[in-house]
Assembly symmetry: C3
Homo-oligomer: 328 residues x 3
């Protein structure tokens, strides 16, 4: 086939150039390095965990009370093994980054051996939280037929499901893996929740595309968020080397019962949205909002003109819509 | 391997806890229940239907007028069988939800047996609509090289293709399946169109990420929409139990020939965007717009300051940009 | 099985209708046509190229300086062959579109035979650019742990990686393929960068969902962009047939060192964002911005009311947040 000769004689030269590139530009290669988690295996583990969280919905169907224990007994060890492998790898990876050459495989082993069952023992509690999130979706979306539809179809639920697991691993100080999990959910749903974010019960993201929730965000119970909402950082406190201080609270606090409408942007580590408040769509907030408040913006004067006319004549606001009367 | 002992002796205990969790928290499990559609099979059916809609573009290539009938004759029964299975499952699922224990497999069978060919007989008409959508994309996007590029690459076209099929099933009162299809398209494209939305001919979504089109939206012909546009609901009319009345029209009406630019938010069941009107980017509309109008907002005063300076000095609008002069 | 009879006797009729639909509506079919690239093979080639760009991160792991040359020597010919096939197909496809029936397979062959190694020889230079992008992500995101996390998890990096390859093919005048690649990355990341866009070094998109960068955009070095940013077109210059002039510069120019915050919309081929300037979140710009400037908008008056109250009382701006003080 002519394709065989596409590279043909040039192959040796191309290979040399690539290898030289790897040697000279080493910021984006993983050669002669011992430890790196496998994104493929982590994603597969997430899928298996979703099957554990929502039995009968994905993977094995036709579960009954007679066979479910066997199903779980078959699924759990598989999950346990890949979790152990990847947690182990992430821990050793981190050790190697922090103290190159001093990594003790033994230490990673022991720690992973402890963390893996700890994480799995926490799954029932995560299930309880997620059932509350399913309830919140059903209560919060008129288009939701029932819980099953939410579980089968809602991207917001997929995002919070992955988040609660990633957050558990983040709290156990497992490096890298939580972020890989959350970015997988981000790719699937358009919802970007950093694993560090603390999120309370009965949490619902409707539609979801474009939502960004930062690492040090704190969200209370019964909070509802629409598409395009950003809970982000303002300026970043820096240390003496100019690097941002990661532990500093950079992202907002959202209290219980808050609703945040589409495209609102809320920024700052000191910004608190008070209990039961409503943040209107497209609002830009960088300062604390008291409880039981509704925040909207006075809409910019809308200008209406006939097509083909010159400059638009401003029309009185009444004619083209005031801010919605947010009745919750 | 040490992994074998990761869970090891704890397995029994972990399994018990999981099974107890399933029993105690039953809102998110599907055990001892008869009917649930398979998202996996539904997604595969959608992919096969896309092959039927756009022959030669995906799946089997090198089609000729001599072999295309055989190709279709091979593809259609496969699609028919999985459609039947899933429609059947969705119907029985719904019966079981509405009258637990009274589900008649026979009745679901008969209904699915009727609906499946009805749906398939509608495919040519859907193809005609979609060819118009391809045309609209080509006409509406300067970067479009030709129809083939639109079909091979445009997320907006994928979204409307899945929508027209999901909408057909929605109109046939098939539960669950339409939503599973549309959320799959949402994951692929970032475009969220509820299967209930009525959309006319020659419809084009450019770029698309972040578009949300609600269940009771009505869109006319020759409508063009850019990324981040929301056609959403305002307040939700509720019944005496406090549940939202789903049948009420909650989402806007967009008449023929309208163009809606990026990030515009249009809300409300009584909101009508009149024929041939243009809604500017980032505009927030909650009230009816007359035909042949251009709606922009008077841009907030932009403030310009030199970096390192104190508070910004407001600059006259002219210097940093008035609203674009939307010439269509 | 009853499914066998779902279509049963109707099959012949359904097939006839489908085939008739293909004949009558020919804008969305590829029958009796010679050339069409395979999106499946192109996507697989992109995945293989990502393995070449970031050795050890995806696909084959455990690379050492002893085995890496063999790994590359195995990967490169495979990539070369599918690249050649698809470039060849795209070239012939274009020839056929421009001069139906006059396509010379020989000419496509020769041209593809030349372009394929040219593209591959450019990979080391692309790697160097991408290492700079990895650096930019690490420098620009406080939540970034290190380079490896960026490579394993960041959607912005995936988007720019695919872009730099698609752009190289675009510059080599390969039709169709660059757009198929960039729309695949768009589906994965929510980031929509047209392959024609020129992007300088050390480029970072943080979060990314909703970013749109148009075909004739020019971006300098050290530019940082947040989610939801549009670099788009205003009006489209048209030729005498009413078709938009594609070569005209329709999209903005962004100079070195600029930062553009979330949801900003910047439009127009004559719009230049000057060096080291900062464009605030949600800003709408359609006119040139001088260097070393910070552009924010005077926030619309935010209105605060207690829930249950009547119309909101406007509150002084100070109480609910002025524009952030962008300190970079």
């Amino acid at each position: 086939m002519t394709e065989d000769f596409i590279i043909g004689a040039k192959l040796g030269e191309l290979v040399d150039h690539m290898v030289t590139s790897y040697e000279e530009e080493d910021r984006a290669q993983h050669i002669d390095r011992m430890y790196l988690p496998s994104r493929t295996e982590i994603v597969q583990t997430v899928r298996d965990l979703l099957e554990l969280l929502y039995p009968g919905f994905v993977g094995r169907q036709h579960l009954t009370k007679h066979n479910v224990a066997f199903h779980v007994g078959d699924l759990l060890p598989r999950i346990g093994e890949s979790l152990f492998r990847q947690i182990n790898m992430c821990l050793c990876y981190m050790q190697e980054v922090e103290k190159p050459g001093e990594t003790s495989q033994n230490l990673c082993d022991q720690k992973a051996r402890r963390l893996t069952p700890t994480f799995l023992e926490g799954i029932p509690a995560i299930r309880t939280m997620l059932a509350g999130d399913v309830q919140a979706a059903y209560d919060g979306d008129p288009a939701a037929m029932n819980f099953d539809e939410v579980i089968l179809a809602y991207p917001g639920l997929l995002a919070i499901s992955v988040h609660r697991m990633a957050h558990a691993l983040y709290e156990l100080d497992v490096p890298l893996m939580p972020r890989i999990m959350s970015e997988w959910a981000h790719a699937k749903t358009g919802i970007d929740i950093h694993p560090g974010a603390n999120i309370g019960q009965h949490f619902f993201i409707d539609h979801g595309t474009g939502v960004v929730i930062g690492e040090t965000t704190d969200i209370g119970n019964n909070v509802k968020i629409y598409q395009g909402v950003t809970l982000g950082a303002l300026s970043f406190p820096k240390d003496e080397r100019g690097r941002v201080i990661r532990e500093a609270k950079r992202h907002p606090t959202v209290k219980d019962g808050v609703t945040i409408y589409a495209n609102a942007i809320i920024l700052g580590g000191e910004t608190v949205i008070g209990e039961n408040s409503v943040i209107g769509g497209s609002v830009f907030v960088t300062s604390t909002v008291p409880p039981n408040s509704v925040v909207t913006f006075k809409p910019p004067e809308l200008r209406l003109k006939a097509r083909g006319e010159g400059k638009p004549k401003p029309k009185p606001l009444d004619d083209v819509g005031d801010m919605p009367d947010y009745c919750i």
